[in-house]
Amino acid sequence: MIPKFIHSSSYHESAKLQIAYLPALIGSIIFLVIFGGFIPGFNSWKETSTILKQKQEINSVLSSKALMLASFDSTELKTKLDMATKAIPIKPPYRQTLASMSALADRHKISVDGLEFIKQGESIGIRITLTGAYPDIYSFLQNIENSVPLASVDSISLNSRSSSDLAERAYSADLNLSFYFKSSPKTFGKLTEKLPVISVAEEKDLRELNGFEFFDLQFVGDLSLDASNRAVKLFPD
C-alpha cells in the first residue's frame, strides 16, 4: 500500500503543477510578449509611421516644387521678373522716375518748373510743378499712370495762367505723385515650403504691364532740371 500511496502523491503534485503553474507560465509568456514585444513594436511602428507620413507630405511638396521649377522656362521667367521689377523696383526708383518725368514732359511739350523728392515708406513722393496746355497736362497724367515704375497721382492743383481758348490756355499744375517700390524679401522661403502661386489677377496684371511704357535711364542725361541732378546725387540707385 505504501508504494501505491507514494505514486499517488507524486501524481497529485504533477497534477497540481499542471493546474497551478502551467497557466501562470503561459500568462507570463503572454505578459512578456505583450509588454516586451507587442507594445514596443507597436510604438516603434506608430512613431515610424508618423515620421513616414510627414516625410511623404514633405516629399509631395518637394516633388511638386521640383516639377514646377523644372517646368519654368528660364527666359520667360526672366522676362516676367524683368517686367515685375520694372513695375515695382527693388530699390527706390529715383533715376527711372526722373527718366519718365523728363521723357514725358518733353513728349507733351510741358515745362517742368520744379521737382521735389519726398521719402515716404515704400514709395517715393514727388512734387512736380508743370506748365502747359490742359490737353498736354492731361496726356502727361495719363502717360504717368500707364508707365512703369508704377505711380499714382495723389493730388493735383491746377491754376490758370491765361484766359484764352481751353486747348491753348496755359495752366500751371502742382502734382503730387507716388512712385512705388518694394525691397527684395529677406528670405526666399524654406526648402520644404510650397512655391507661391501667381493668381489669375496677377497674370492679368503682368499682361497689362506689358503695355506700360518704360523709360530707359539714358533719358536722365537729357534732364535740364537742377533738381533732378540734385536728386541723382542725393539718391543714387
Binding site: 500500500m1 497529485h12 499542471q18 505583450i34 521667367l77 492731361y138 495723389d154 496677377e202
Partner: protein, 176 residues
C-alpha cells in the same frame, strides 16, 4: 486509503468537469499567447516595412532637395516675381485715376467760362473749383453744371466780382 480518497475529486464526474475547465482555460491561454506572438511578429514586420519605406522616402527627399537646390536661381527669381507682383496687383487694384476726375471738371462745366483753378485729391470725393466769367448768366450756368451729374454741389465758398468787372465763383463739388 482515506488520505487517497481525500485527494481525489469528490466524484468522477466532478473530476472530469474540472479537467475540462482546466483544458479549456489552458487552450484559451495558449491561443491568446499564440495570437499575441503572431501580432508581435506582425507589428515588428510592419515596423520594419515602414522603416524601409522611410529610408526610401529619405533617399527620395534628398534627391528632390538636390533637384531644387540645382534650380535655386529659378526659385529665387520666382519668389521675387511673386513678391513684386503682389504689390503691383494691390496697387493696380486700388489706385484712383485722377485724370478722370480732372477730365470731368474740364468737360462738365461750360466752355465759355474760365477755369481759374481746380484742387483734386485722389482719395477724396470733393473737388474745389474756381471760375471766372464776364457775365452773370454764365455764372448761373456754372452753378447749374455743379448741380448736374456727374457733380453734386457741396457749397459755394465765395462769389464776387473783381476790378475788371468779372464774376468770380469758388465752389466745392462732389463727384458722384
Amino acid at each position: 486509503m482515506k488520505n487517497i480518497i481525500n485527494l481525489l475529486p469528490e466524484s468522477a464526474m466532478e473530476g472530469s468537469r474540472r479537467l475540462a475547465i482546466f483544458k479549456g482555460v489552458q487552450t484559451i491561454l495558449i491561443v491568446v499567447a499564440l495570437v499575441c506572438m503572431i501580432l508581435t511578429i506582425g507589428i515588428w514586420s510592419l515596423s520594419l516595412i515602414t522603416g524601409r519605406e522611410l529610408a526610401i522616402e529619405n533617399i527620395k527627399s534628398k534627391d528632390l532637395e538636390e533637384q531644387i537646390v540645382a534650380q535655386s536661381k529659378k526659385e529665387q527669381q520666382f519668389y521675387l516675381l511673386t513678391h513684386q507682383l503682389d504689390k503691383a496687383n494691390k496697387l493696380l487694384d486700388s489706385r484712383i485715376q485722377i485724370e478722370k476726375k480732372l477730365n470731368a471738371v474740364m468737360t462738365a462745366f461750360p466752355p465759355d467760362v474760365n477755369l481759374l483753378s481746380a484742387e483734386i485729391d485722389a482719395p477724396g470725393k470733393n473737388i474745389s473749383v474756381k471760375f471766372a466769367a464776364d457775365n452773370f448768366q454764365k455764372m448761373i450756368k456754372v452753378v447749374a453744371a455743379a448741380k448736374t451729374k456727374p457733380f453734386s454741389l457741396v457749397k459755394v465758398n465765395d462769389f464776387s466780382r473783381n476790378i475788371k468787372g468779372e464774376y468770380l465763383i469758388d465752389l466745392t463739388v462732389e463727384l458722384l
